[in-house]
Symmetry: C2
Subunit: 183 residues, 2 copies
Amino acid sequence: MRRKSFETLACPIARSLERVGEWWSILVLRDAFLGATRFEQFQKSLEIAPNMLARRLNALVEAGMLEKRRYSERPPRDEYLLTERGRDFRPVLWALLAWGNRQFAPGGPSVQIVDAETGVPADPVLMDAISLRPLEPPFFRTVPGPGASEGFRKRHGAFAGNSAPTSAKAARSAQRRLGDANV
Amino acid sequence: MRRKSFETLACPIARSLERVGEWWSILVLRDAFLGATRFEQFQKSLEIAPNMLARRLNALVEAGMLEKRRYSERPPRDEYLLTERGRDFRPVLWALLAWGNRQFAPGGPSVQIVDAETGVPADPVLMDAISLRPLEPPFFRTVPGPGASEGFRKRHGAFAGNSAPTSAKAARSAQRRLGDANV
């Protein structure tokens, strides 16, 4: 894969993908959130070649998302624990889960997020914790932040005036949703 | 890459990754949300080989996330518009952006989500839209849903009693956060 330029890496999405932008890494994290810590547990769940799994685990340790801890000296055995940075990835994983459930689960969700006490399924929505409004256009948008370089600012606005174009069908549906929200 | 078993594909995260589990696909979607529609626009932004970009665009069209529309007959030219399913991916992209800003932006965020009217930066949190509580353990957890097969149920609980282990540092920090929340 061709190396990205610095300008592109200034994007927080590209930066994040540098750490987890790979199928297996995300499934390793998923299993870590489900409680897997040991090599054999990940391997049994993911059914991947040991060398591939070792590579992914090490990459996640290097990215500061997992912490390696020796739990046995003879034979030498390590376990892998989520770090604070790794745990902080949960909203991404759960947003992905929610999208999968909305889009690809015609027979009902196979996994869902529920209230741990009552078991009532949650309605996962990315919101602004300050105003408690859903993070959706046209009410919210992305703009260059204080850490943006001049070049990055230009790039971010490259398609301006042309923002988030949608198919006619999607536009109608968005209109309907907005209508609902205003009720 | 080895083909996943059906049991694993029943997981909504794995299913989602089948559609977008690749670095470039997510950056293509990012640019689509910024307003890119034309091949040259994506190419200029992503700096990838035309055949690679064409493959990613076609994969996203096949996954139902982009819609291809001919805007010129001579020469034949297509543009790529986000479908409803593609637009529905925004929370995942923004959750990834927020995680990148929290974890990898020591100089301040280069892109941020703001209130479109006031410009005030949002605090993006995945919440339960029903109870307006953040989707975090121990208050929320994932469980097999109505669409789960017997085999999948077993697998989901494979690490039970061992859920979301964390490093000592992360555990202390979670404790602090919970303390704050209870104030």
